[in-house]
């Protein structure tokens, strides 16, 4: 299987603290992957490095086919290259309607001048409506997204990610603060998305990870501790120590 994203030997340190320590990670073009690990294991830093928010001290990040390096690229360039990111807290533009949020995320030219003369056509509206249906917000299009419930905001953000049509989705704790019914729907959305692209889910909640039913990577102290099915990694002695020994 070819790889879409390959992170090799990446290290990041903040004031002497090694957030990532010689981390290597690879994911294929249509794969669902859960990344778990205790607090401070480097899960969020891993995402920061891939999306260009944090520059690694050393290591390589290669992306796509033919491979290109993501090192030194700006956040917006990396996003346009096909990496979408969802934050831990739902971050949607609360002051704007659901439709505006989705419209902004649609894959279109991003330079100021092309945005200035952009005029949404029938197709674009159709696409926004379709996305809204996927995330279950088709009746809420004209609502200010600030009025949505916590779970709906999370979905809207996932919808915005899908609108970007990324090849890789990085999702940080999508199920945090959701009700059971909402979690179920989130699982469905993510699994559906992973059929056509790579999805990396960072999650604390083991039940949620089990429901995703995918390969799991365990991070600890900035590097990969174990990798495999959930059952496989939960039987790993080191993983048990890391999780229970704290």
């Amino acid at each position: 299987m070819s790889t879409l994203l390959e992170v090799s030997g990446v290290s990041v340190s903040f004031d002497g603290f090694k957030a990532l320590n010689n981390l290597s990670f690879a994911i294929g073009p249509a794969e669902l992957r859960a990344v778990i690990g205790p607090n401070g294991a480097g899960k969020t830093t891993f995402m920061d490095v891939v999306t260009g928010k944090t520059r690694p001290d050393e290591g390589r990040i290669s992306w796509g086919e033919p491979p290109m390096s993501l090192l030194g690229k700006s956040e917006s360039t990396i996003a346009m290259a096909g990496v979408g990111r969802k934050f831990q807290r739902p971050t949607v533009f609360e002051d704007q309607s659901v439709a505006d949020n989705l419209m902004m995320a649609l894959k279109k030219p991003r330079s100021p001048f092309s945005v200035l003369v952009f005029k949404a056509e029938r197709d674009d509206y159709a696409r926004v409506e379709e996305l809204a249906r996927v995330i279950g917000l088709e009746t809420q299009l004209m609502r200010k997204s600030g009025e949505l419930s916590h779970g709906q905001k999370q979905w809207l953000e996932i919808g915005m990610l899908l609108a970007q049509e990324p090849q890789l989705l990085l999702v940080d704790e999508p199920a945090a603060g959701m009700t059971t019914a909402e979690r179920q729907k989130t699982t469905e959305i993510l699994r559906e998305a992973a059929k056509t692209r790579a999805v990396v889910v960072v999650e604390h909640d083991m039940d949620f990870v089990r429901r995703l039913d995918c390969k799991v990577t365990v991070l600890h102290e900035g590097s990969v501790l174990a990798e495999g099915s959930l059952d496989h990694v939960t039987q790993n002695q080191e993983v048990i120590e890391v999780y229970l020994g704290r």
């Binding site: 996003a79 533009f93 995320a105 952009f118 005029k119 056509e121 009025e147 779970g151």
Partner: protein, 419 residues
């Protein structure tokens, strides 16, 4: 379902899709007509020429407030140096006005002496007239284009635009945001002002440029008429600026701008080059401010470096805050309301107040009142005067609050979501 009617491709011209633009233009038109009919120059004379000038200047201040609202209210860049661009626009037009008028006077006086004057004689005559006050008699290099109206008009746009472009590029590229950016912009306007205060800056130091109200070659035209022309010019500029600004903030561009204001990092991860957007809006806004200044100072008659002092830009921010930032008409209302009120209070027309035997004179106390109202607006009415229009609108549109926010029973209710 209401969605079907609201959601879909936009139709019709901008002014029809956004009624507030139409209402604004109608108000501006009526106001212009009213002032014209009551003016000394063309009407009954109820409004004095000096007050027509005050009103014209106020419209220019509204335009610069509009520019400020674009960067601050929509894009979240609190620029505390915007009056620098306004002043530069004024200096650019002032140079031509002063040069050309002095030239006509010099040519006249040399012609009276008999022999036809040489080009050098005229040039040194103008230079002595203009720069005698700072002890110089030669043109500094920056006056090289002052003889040409089209070139100086171009400078009105280019100089503030270029300064904003370079300053913005340096600041935004280094991701300077928030209060640090505000401090930088203050430093910019302060530095510019201090530089212009020097006699060898080439712009007559603290004397500034004066006599700008006299249009060269139109000495015969009474000021009553000139003032009305400038008033119309100001109204036209404000109207056009308003429509242009509405167009910019109405579509997806406005969406991205507000996104940058609310969560810059998120916009970046959506793939938008945030710095380029900021630079675009900052430069555009500086150009708008420059144009406003170029129409303002011929009505004021004089420009000096004190106009670029940091306090001027802070006042601008106060107007926009009181008017209501994040909505264009709010900025216009704030600028008009506060600056006219300020004229009234500081003009000595406001009656003194007796408090416990202390005579409170508004000329001294007006700034205190303004400061207090700024604090009050920030704390208690962050939407400013423009927020009043929301109250009116809320009356007309049906209440849809109090229902479940989500599709299922477990979803948060509105009250919880607010918390």
């Amino acid at each position: 379902m209401t969605d079907a009617t609201l959601f879909g491709p936009a139709r019709g011209p901008l002014v029809l899709r956004y009624p507030s633009v139409l209402v604004f233009l109608a108000c501006l038109g009526l106001f212009t007509l009213g002032v014209t009919v009551l003016s000394e120059g063309l009407g009954s004379g109820v409004i004095s020429t000096s007050f027509v000038k005050t009103l014209g200047k106020t419209l220019c201040l509204c335009l610069v407030a509009l520019a400020m609202d674009l960067v601050w209210g929509y894009c979240g860049i609190l620029s505390l140096g915007h009056m620098a661009f306004f002043g530069l626009g004024g200096y650019a037009i002032g140079m031509w006005l002063m040069y050309e008028r002095t030239r006509l006077i010099v040519v006249d006086s040399l012609a009276a002496s008999g022999l036809p004057p040489t080009v050098e004689e005229i040039s040194s005559g103008i230079a002595t007239q203009i720069f005698g006050v700072v002890g110089a008699s030669e043109f500094p290099p920056i006056w090289a284009l002052a003889h040409s109206l089209p070139l100086q008009l171009a400078a009105v746009v280019i100089v503030p635009g270029l300064l904003a472009l370079v300053f913005g590029w340096l600041a935004f590229r280094s991701r300077v945001t928030g209060v640090y950016l505000s401090i930088l912009t203050q430093a910019m306007t302060l530095a510019l002002s201090l530089y212009l205060f020097q006699n060898d800056s080439g712009l007559r130091g603290n004397n500034g440029l004066s006599g700008l109200q006299n249009l060269p070659g139109m000495e015969e035209t009474p000021q009553a008429l000139v003032s009305i022309w400038f008033f119309w010019g100001s109204a036209l500029a404000l109207g056009l600026g308003y429509v242009l600004a509405s167009w910019i903030v109405s579509g997806k561009f406005g969406s991205v701008l507000r996104g940058i204001r609310d969560d810059e990092a998120r916009v970046r991860f959506l793939g938008y080059p945030v710095e380029a957007f900021k630079l675009f809006v900052f430069t555009f806004s500086a150009i708008l401010a420059g144009i406003a200044g170029a129409i303002y100072y011929p009505q004021a008659g004089i420009i000096n470096p004190a106009e670029l002092a940091p306090i001027a830009s802070i006042y601008l921010a106060v107007w926009v805050a009181i008017g209501g930032r994040g909505r264009l008409y709010g900025a216009v209302i704030g600028a008009a309301f506060v600056s006219l009120l300020s004229t009234w209070f500081t003009g000595g027309q406001a009656p003194d107040l007796w408090i416990l035997g202390y005579r409170l004179q508004w000329v001294d106390w007006w700034t205190v009142l303004l400061g207090l109202s700024f604090v009050a607006v920030t704390l208690f009415a962050p939407k400013g005067i423009g927020g009043l229009f929301d109250l009116i609108n809320a009356r007309r549109t049906p209440q849809r609050h109090g229902q479940d926010l989500g599709p299922d029973a477990g979803a948060l209710r509105e009250k919880e979501a607010d918390e």
